[in-house]
Amino acid sequence: MGITQSLLNFNSLTSLSPSLIWILFGVVLFFSALYSAILLYHWFKYGSGNKIFSGGVVLIYIGGVIVLLILMALSALSFTS
């Protein structure tokens, strides 16, 4: 199997290294946590005025990130098991 074929066929790529998807998940988790920390820092430090609006935005953001990370974890679990 050529390299191009391996890269195009994700199924065989992940079967070569079953932990690849978890490494990818770990990288995404790390960067999303870092990015969220920076974003929340900005909202809490510089966000002036309407506290309800700021709180709402932060809740929606965190909620969305958590839902998507859970979805990723569940699909990774389903894929590797």
Binding site: N9, V28, L39, S75
Partner: protein
């Protein structure tokens, strides 16, 4: 947070029009839809690569994983845009105008100028959509060093201009009254 003087209060906070965010969101949605559309276009079809026929297929859990990852990236980028647009503002107080320019997360420029230094305010509304939705740019020219402050894509620019000019008139009148009182006493 902005630190105000004891006898200073906020009159108006000017932020960008929702349409600016809508345009940028549409750009982001394009980057979300494009790879998914390309995948669904290519899925199940055979492509000749290096003399071999290759079929691009992804198992459903892996597809969900990759699409979730893509949505997560777009989601985070969208909120960084919201932050950028929300924190980029003009705060008009009874004494000065504070111009906060947020460029991404790590670049924040805050400049302020006293209201009585304003020499000229111009509004700039460009295009059909801006005219229809009533948003545009405000340019404030200050005295002395001929510095110009600009805020782009704000709603009701003409009304904001009038409000700022009212504040300028009020401050100028107050300082005149103070001068007259000092001369009389």
């Amino acid at each position: 947070m902005i630190t105000l003087a004891q006898d200073e209060h906020i009159v108006h906070v000017i932020r960008k029009h929702w349409f600016i965010l809508a345009v940028r969101t549409a750009e982001l949605l394009f980057f979300l839809v494009l790879p998914i559309a390309v995948y669904f276009f290519m899925a199940g079809k055979s492509f000749p690569v290096g003399g071999e026929e290759i079929e691009l297929t992804l198992p459903l859990p892996l597809l969900i994983f990759l699409v979730s990852m893509l949505i997560l990236m777009i989601w985070m980028r969208f909120f960084s845009l919201v932050t950028d647009i929300y924190l980029d503002s003009w705060t008009v107080t009874n004494k000065r105008i504070i111009d906060i320019e947020q460029r991404g997360f790590f670049s924040r420029q805050i400049s302020s100028f006293r209201i009585e230094r304003i020499q000229d305010i111009t509004t700039d509304i460009h295009g059909i959509i801006a005219t229809f939705l009533d948003f545009g740019d405000i340019h404030a020219q200050t005295a002395g060093d001929e510095q110009e402050f600009i805020i782009r894509g704000v709603p009701n620019p003409k009304k904001i201009k009038q409000n700022i000019l009212k504040e300028v008139d009020r401050v100028t009148e107050n300082s005149r009254e103070n001068d007259t009182t000092e001369l009389n006493s």
